[in-house]
C-alpha cells in the first residue's frame, strides 16, 4: 500500500495533505502557547519548561517533546519531498508556456510553491534562532525564552523575516487546508463554502496570532 501511495501523484498529494494537517494541528497548539507571552515572563517561561516535562513521570524529561519533534520533522520532510517531486512532475508536464499569457488563478499554485520554500527556510532560521540559539542576536539564554523572543523582535530583520513568513503561512494555509480536504476526499459541493470559510478563518487566526508577538514587542506591550 505504501508503494501504491508513494508512486502515485494522487498518493503523494495524500502524503502532503496528511503531513500538512499534522503541521497545522501543531501550529494551533504553537500559537496558543505563543500568546502566553502577553501574560509576562513567568507564565511564558513556565509554559516552555512544562513542554519539556509533559508526560512525566511516565516519560523522561524532554521525551515527549522529542517525540513531537520527530513527528514534525517527518511531516516536514514528507511534505517537502512530496512537494518537490510533484512540482518537478508538474513542470515537466507543461514544458512550454503559452505565448499569450494571462494572469490567472495559478496564483494559488505559485504562492504554494514559493510560500512553501519561504516557510522551509523560515523554519531553519527559527530553530537556529530560538531553539538552538545559533544565529540568535545578542546573548541566547537557554531556559529563558521570553527574553530570547524579545531579543529577536528587537531587531528589524527579525521582525521582517518573521512577519513575511507568517503572511506566507497564512496564504499557504488558506489554499492548503481547502486543498487537503479535496485531496482527502472530504470536500463536496455542499461543504465547499464551509471548508473555504474554515480555511480562511484558520489562516487569519494563525497569522494574526503569530504576528501579535512581534507587534507586541515592537509596541512595547511585551518587553
Amino acid at each position: 500500500m505504501a508503494r501504491t501511495v508513494w508512486d502515485s501523484s494522487v498518493g503523494k498529494k495524500t502524503v502532503m495533505a496528511v503531513s500538512g494537517v499534522i503541521m497545522l494541528l501543531y501550529l494551533v497548539a504553537h500559537v496558543i502557547g505563543n500568546l502566553k507571552i502577553f501574560f509576562g515572563p513567568g507564565e511564558f517561561n513556565h509554559y516552555a519548561h512544562w513542554l519539556r516535562t509533559v508526560g512525566e513521570p511516565f516519560m523522561h524529561y524532554e521525551w515527549t517533546l522529542w517525540l513531537i519533534r520527530v513527528v514534525l520533522i517527518a511531516a516536514v520532510v514528507a511534505h517537502a519531498v512530496s512537494a518537490y517531486q510533484l512540482s518537478r512532475r508538474d513542470i515537466k508536464a507543461r514544458p512550454s508556456k503559452y505565448v499569450h499569457t494571462k494572469a490567472r488563478a495559478s496564483y494559488a499554485t505559485r504562492t504554494m510553491r514559493w510560500g512553501g520554500i519561504i516557510l522551509g527556510l523560515f523554519i531553519v532560521w527559527h530553530i537556529l534562532d530560538l531553539t538552538t540559539g545559533t544565529v540568535h542576536s545578542g546573548g541566547f539564554q537557554p531556559g529563558h525564552p521570553y527574553q530570547n523572543v524579545v531579543d529577536t523582535f528587537s531587531t528589524w530583520y527579525g521582525n521582517v523575516i518573521y512577519i513575511v513568513a507568517m503572511l506566507a503561512l497564512g496564504l499557504h494555509i488558506r489554499h492548503g487546508f481547502w486543498s487537503a480536504a479535496q485531496t482527502l476526499g472530504v470536500g463536496s459541493r455542499t461543504r465547499d463554502r464551509a471548508l473555504k470559510t474554515v480555511a480562511n478563518v484558520l489562516a487569519l487566526l494563525l497569522t494574526a496570532g503569530f504576528i501579535a508577538v512581534p507587534v507586541g514587542v515592537m509596541t512595547g506591550v511585551v518587553s
Partner: protein, 249 residues
C-alpha cells in the same frame, strides 16, 4: 470585421514552431471561429501557402475534436467548444492569438493539431464496465436511483477534448480521469470494478506524463461541458477507498 491573427505554425512534431501573423477581412459576426479559420485557409491555399492545420469534426460541440487556445484560453473566451464560439465574441480590429493545447502528454503533430491518444490509453486502463455483448441482464433488473443516474450523466458528458489539460498550469488530466471514474463508479453496474478502475486509470494518467493536481480550478473553468472541480475530490475519495480496500485483500 477585420482581424489580425497570430497563429502557432509548426511544420511537424520535430520542427520548431513560431507564431505567424495573418490579416483576415470580411469576417461576419455570425461565423463560428472555425469558419473564420476556414476563410483564412481558403485564402492561403489560393496563395499557394500551407493552410493552418487544426482538428475539428462535428462542429456541434460534442465530438471533442476542436482544440484551440484562443488568447490564452482553452476554447476561447466563452464557456463552450471552439466550434461553438462565434465571432460576435470579438470586435473589429482585434488581434487574436491562436495556439495549440500545450502539455508534454499532448505533443504537437502540426500547427494547432496535437496528439491526444494519452486520453484513449487512460480509458483503456479501466474506463469501462466489463459487460461483453450478450451477457446483459434485463435493463430494469437493477433500478438506479435518479440522483445517482444524474450524477453519472453529469460526468459522462465529458467530450474528451483536453481543454482541462490545456488550461492546467501543471498539464494535469485529473478532471478528465475523474469524470470517467465518477460516471462509472457511482453506478451499480460499475461496482465490481470500482477499485481497480480508479487505481488503474490514475496509474495510467501518471504514466502518460500528465502533471499532478494543485487544485487551481483552471480545468473546471475551461471545461466546455461544465464538469465541476469537485469531481476531482470525488475521485480522490474513490482512490483512497480503493487503496485501503485493495491493501486489505
Amino acid at each position: 470585421m477585420r482581424l489580425t491573427l497570430r497563429v502557432w505554425r509548426q511544420k511537424n512534431a520535430d520542427a520548431e514552431g513560431a507564431m505567424s501573423t495573418y490579416e483576415v477581412d470580411g469576417i461576419s459576426s455570425d461565423m463560428s471561429f472555425l469558419e473564420m479559420l476556414d476563410t483564412l485557409n481558403e485564402e492561403l491555399i489560393l496563395k499557394g501557402e500551407d493552410p493552418v492545420a487544426f482538428d475539428h469534426d462535428c462542429r456541434e460541440g460534442i465530438c471533442g475534436a476542436c482544440s484551440l487556445v484562443i488568447n490564452g484560453d482553452a476554447h476561447g473566451p466563452e464557456r463552450t467548444t471552439t466550434c461553438q464560439l462565434h465571432m460576435r465574441s470579438f470586435k473589429d480590429g482585434d488581434t487574436i492569438d491562436i495556439e495549440p493545447w500545450r502539455a508534454s502528454a499532448f505533443p504537437v503533430i502540426k500547427d494547432l493539431v496535437v496528439d491526444r491518444s494519452a486520453f484513449d490509453r487512460i480509458i483503456q486502463a479501466g474506463g469501462y464496465i466489463t459487460a461483453p455483448t450478450g451477457s446483459a441482464p434485463e435493463a430494469h433488473a437493477t433500478p438506479v436511483p435518479k440522483p445517482d443516474a444524474d450524477f453519472a450523466f453529469e460526468h459522462a458528458e465529458c467530450i474528451g477534448c483536453g481543454a482541462c489539460v490545456a488550461a492546467c498550469p501543471n498539464g494535469a488530466a485529473m478532471l478528465f480521469t475523474s469524470a470517467k471514474v465518477n460516471h462509472l463508479n457511482v453506478l451499480p453496474q460499475g461496482a465490481p470494478e470500482r477499485e481497480t478502475r480508479v487505481l488503474d486509470m490514475v496509474a495510467q494518467m501518471d504514466e502518460e506524463g500528465f502533471g499532478g493536481c494543485t487544485l487551481t480550478g483552471e480545468c473546471a473553468t475551461a471545461c466546455p461541458k461544465g464538469i465541476p472541480l469537485v469531481s476531482i475530490t470525488s475521485m480522490n475519495k474513490e482512490w483512497l477507498r480503493a487503496t485501503r480496500r485493495v491493501a486489505k485483500r
